[in-house]
Symmetry: C2
Subunit: 134 residues, 2 copies
């Protein structure tokens, strides 16, 4: 069921500063910032060849990233996103295993225009897991 | 300079339980546990095709994972590891940019038998970054 690692998401308090640091200190290719108001984030992607690092900055007053940054003011590792072929089948399998899907339990359209869902970190040893149908 | 994402490391309090959960709930291929006493960890790798998820359990009383799990008893995202071609050149470049190398500043031999170093999370927006020469 589990496919490739689509991305690792890192929350940062200042996306412009983080993008510049990844470019300058690590010599990485970083995309332009992309505001996603419906997700409450502005994102930029660091291209590391085999996968992507998603830098996340809060956007708006209700961003789900804000409580994370209040707890981790410098930023930190926020979630991992795995690809699946069939997100409804994956959800049903996971729920049968006792995993909890965040929100209303239904996939929604994610930052890449594809169906995604998030699994409760308590069911994955403290790691927030996103699944994305590809 | 920045190469592929070699792995994402997730600290877990119980490696056997985490390995079983990744196999059963996510249908993932997980390696057998590998004790690395010189690093204070037992590791298992989840194969996700394009990269690896490294599950880390503390080994011994001086494991660097113990303080992390005291702060995050359920476990959590611990570090990301990027590949570089020349770790000494990468270190020199990063130090010139003001980044701090943990420990004595010299690469040591990591879990894969290759030179690694860790960069201070304060210099990478709260994320602990490992570099591995490949």
């Amino acid at each position: 069921m589990l496919g490739r690692l689509n991305h690792v998401a890192l929350a940062v308090p200042d996306l412009a500063a983080a993008s510049a640091h990844y470019r300058d200190a690590l010599g990485a290719r970083v995309s332009e910032p992309q505001p996603l108001p419906e997700h409450g984030v502005t994102v930029a992607f660091v291209d590391v060849g085999n996968t992507k690092i998603e830098l996340l900055e809060p956007l708006g007053d209700n961003s789900t990233i804000l409580p994370f940054l209040q707890k981790n003011p410098s930023g930190g590792m926020h979630h991992v996103c795995y690809e699946v072929d069939d997100i409804a089948a994956a959800r049903d399998h996971l729920k049968a295993q006792g995993a909890r899907v965040l929100g209303d339990g239904e996939p929604r359209i994610g930052a890449h225009g594809k169906p995604v869902l998030f699994l409760h970190p308590k069911d994955f040893f403290g790691t927030l897991v996103e699944l994305e149908q590809v």
